[in-house]
């Protein structure tokens, strides 16, 4: 039961000559809220689509809930919920009709939950899907993905079109789901503050590979900003490994370091004969530093 819910090994995906995912490894543990971060065009959506079997990688193996995405069993599909970036399937249906239509494909459907969420998220049942705003359509898409209470929820930029209030409600719903039952949530987003709020694990996608994958706290412990103040001029090359960014003046320096540990500070203080302050970074700052 401790097998990862999603496991990707040596996944490579190319669109014509352009390599989007390059020999990528990823493991999403069961019961985690897993955030996928990356710049625009980094391949987040492509990775999600590969995981769901919507597109096929040229190389590598992917396993989702122990099944192969190329040919999911019906039983596996019942255990997966997916919210794409944009979804407006049948504009002529009303919200209620689309809910009933979607429900008809699942043996189990929690209509009480759906009704409650429709009410909480202020969606009118008789509104036509085609007339919903982007944000409302996004909310509906999320509700439809939750109706069958899946074991694995995959969201591709779920809050991109939501207002702050709706984002809060969405995050609260995610936390409620995780608290109520064992559910794995895998989602990509640009809004790092949201991710920080709910995710216990993150993966950073950069240049087609996973640059970091692990617990959010580990990442925060690993990437730090060092402020160095020295009474003597500082050398041009400050002797420390894993420098992401360095702003250097004669007596002061600001360094972002990856792979930080407590020993680094004391070693540098001794070598440089300087005062060093260590600053914690939030996820957005870490993201910027890693992509500097």
């Amino acid at each position: 039961m401790n097998d990862p819910v999603i496991q990707a090994q040596r996944v490579t995906k190319r669109y014509k000559a352009k390599t989007i995912l390059n020999d990528l490894f990823l493991a999403v543990p069961r019961g985690s809220v897993f955030g996928l971060l990356g710049k625009n065009g980094a391949g987040k959506t492509t990775l999600i689509k590969c995981v769901l079997g919507l597109v096929y990688p040229q190389d590598g193996l992917i396993s989702v809930l122990g099944d192969n995405p190329r040919n999911f069993l019906e039983r596996t599909k019942e255990r997966i919920g997916y919210v794409p970036q944009s979804d407006r399937p049948y504009p002529w249906l009303t919200v209620r009709q689309l809910v009933t239509y979607t429900a008809s494909f699942y043996p189990l459907w929690n209509m009480a939950l759906v009704d409650r969420l429709l009410k909480e998220w202020e969606l009118e049942e008789e509104d036509k899907v085609g007339l919903l705003s982007e944000g409302q359509a996004q909310k509906l898409s999320i509700i439809l993905a939750l109706g069958h209470e899946p074991e694995l929820l995959i969201f591709d930029e779920p809050v991109a079109s939501l207002d702050p209030a709706a984002r809060r409600k969405f995050l609260k719903t995610i936390l409620d789901i995780v608290a109520d039952r064992e559910c794995t949530i895998f989602f990509s987003t640009h809004i790092t503050s949201d991710l920080e709020r709910v995710a216990d694990r993150v993966a950073l996608l950069k240049n087609g590979t996973i640059d970091f994958c692990g617990e959010l706290d580990v990442l925060k412990d690993e990437v730090k900003r060092l402020r160095i103040v020295s009474p003597v001029p500082l050398p041009r090359d400050i002797p420390v490994n894993g420098v992401l960014r360095c702003e250097l003046s004669q007596y002061e320096a600001v360094l972002s370091v990856r792979g930080f540990h407590a020993g680094i500070k004391s070693q540098m203080e001794q070598r440089l004969n300087a005062r060093i302050e260590v600053e914690d970074l939030n996820l957005e700052e870490i993201f910027l530093e890693l992509h500097a």
Partner: protein, 462 residues
């Protein structure tokens, strides 16, 4: 009503165009029967054409819906999704086939043809349309063009085809089997359609954003091919340049620019015409099937008048949807409206010429060269062009009043009656009468264009 089959059936019937077309088809069958019982034989006979058009349109709509159901993530991720979505439209098809048989039985005293032959024709029509939609990589203007020049002509000739198939039973078998194989291939393709399948992205349907996206993608197919062709043969790339403001002097050039942007892929039509004309000429001189249709230019008034208007509106739809934004550009609104109007009128001239060239002039060069010397012939062509422009002018004028239904209905009714009247009587016009009616049309064109221009200058864009 919770089973997925019920929900899929409802999905079709909740879509208004499908509902109307399906009911029209059933209504046609019932009315033909009713009119026969009341000895209104001529009316019952007319239902044949109507039946063909509605069937083809219904197949087109069903194809679009089926494509939409399959070309989305639900097809891969919802359990037990694909098979029911394939079975339901096939069930509809079977149902309409039964309705058709009922219709055929009711018409049997009038059209004495082999039921298998008509069945084959209808299945073929439905399949061709479905295939076009399924493949769907053509943009809408190219598709409409092809539909008019192929499918509409086929449906126009459906009766002759039926007669042909009645007399050649072996062809019935071939058409029937071919249709069945094609249908099964389509179903199989639908079962495995994935996001990376080449036809996945092309859906001809609203909402507008998706529709435009697909259209742009479809348009790129042509642009890419031309670019590759030019590169292959070392030809320099064409750069579209726009003359700057003030625009007054550059009106025609800018209108032509809209034309080039909006239906650049139609340039392919000219190449197709160059290549296909010899084949076309050979076929009309050898295949007696077309003679009835092409020998008499006077019996297709609507084809030369209404069809180009529909085409020009379809061809400009992409451009028209952005007028609201384009009007914000640094240009006087009057100049902008004028520019768009010129582009529409030029487009109409283009389509009208294509119809006349391909369906009237070219066949008469082969079949009845003497006709080309008759004033009546040229008068008739002038009349069709004038009436087409009158119709477009009316559409331009009326489109300002789209929020007042009664106004549109009254004017639309008058225009339809006028078109119907001319359709019936123009065949008897001499050259002079055609000329006189054309002059009257031009008066109407002037009035509508002038009023339309004024109204569009005052219009608010959403």
């Amino acid at each position: 009503m919770k089973t997925r089959y019920c929900q899929i059936v409802l999905l079709y019937f909740r879509y208004l165009p499908y509902r109307i077309l399906a009911l029209s088809l059933l209504g046609t069958a019932l009315l033909s029967r009713f009119s026969l019982e009341h000895r209104l034989v001529a009316i019952a006979d007319d239902f044949f054409t109507f039946f063909v058009v509605v069937s083809v349109w219904l197949a087109f709509t069903a194809g679009v819906l089926l494509k939409r159901q399959m070309a989305q993530h639900r097809a891969s991720l919802l359990p037990r999704y694909r098979l029911p979505h394939i079975i339901v439209p096939f069930g509809f098809f079977a149902f309409f086939l039964i309705v058709f048989c009922y219709w055929l039985v009711s018409l049997y005293p009038i059209i004495i043809v082999n039921p298998g032959a008509i069945w084959s024709v209808f299945v073929l029509c439905a399949l061709v349309i479905s295939v076009v939609i399924w493949v769907g990589y053509l943009s809408i203007n190219m598709l409409v063009y092809l539909s008019y020049f192929s499918m509409l002509l086929v449906s126009w000739q459906a009766y002759n085809l039926v007669v042909f198939l009645t007399e050649h039973t072996a062809w019935q078998f071939i058409v029937g089997c071919g249709s069945a194989v094609l249908m099964l291939a389509l179903a199989r393709r639908g079962m495995f359609l994935k996001e990376e399948s080449f036809e996945y992205g092309y859906i001809m349907m609203w909402p507008q954003k998706e529709f435009l996206h697909n259209q742009i993608k479809a348009g790129e197919l042509y642009t890419r091919s031309v670019r590759a062709f030019r590169k292959r043969f070392g030809m320099p790339a064409v750069v579209l340049t726009l003359p700057g403001y003030p625009r007054r002097a550059a009106l025609w050039r800018r209108a032509f620019h809209w034309h080039r942007i909006d239906f650049a892929e139609l340039k392919g039509i000219w190449m197709a015409l160059l290549v296909m004309t010899p084949v076309y000429l050979a076929s009309i001189s050898r295949l007696p099937l077309w003679h009835g249709f092409l020998k008499d230019p006077y019996n297709n008034f609507l084809l030369y008048t209404v069809a180009p208007v529909l085409l020009v509106l379809c061809a400009n739809h992409r451009n028209m949807t952005t007028w609201g934004y384009d009007v914000l550009k640094p240009v006087r609104k009057g100049d902008f409206v004028q520019e768009q109007g010129v582009a529409l009128v030029a487009g109409l001239g283009f389509y009208w010429f294509l119809f006349v060239f391909y369906l009237v002039l070219t066949p008469h060069l082969v079949l009845k060269p003497a006709e080309l010397a008759l004033p009546r012939f040229w008068g008739y062509l002038l009349l069709t062009g004038s009436f087409a422009l009158l119709t477009l002018s009316w559409v331009i004028f009326m489109s300002c009043y789209s929020s007042r239904p009664w106004f549109v209905i009254i004017h639309g009714g008058i225009l339809c009656m006028l078109a119907q009247l001319l359709f019936m009587v123009s065949v008897r016009f001499s050259g002079m009468i055609s000329l006189a009616v054309s002059v009257a049309c031009w008066v109407g064109i002037y009035v509508f264009l002038k009023s339309g221009y004024r109204k569009w200058c005052e219009a608010e864009f959403n």
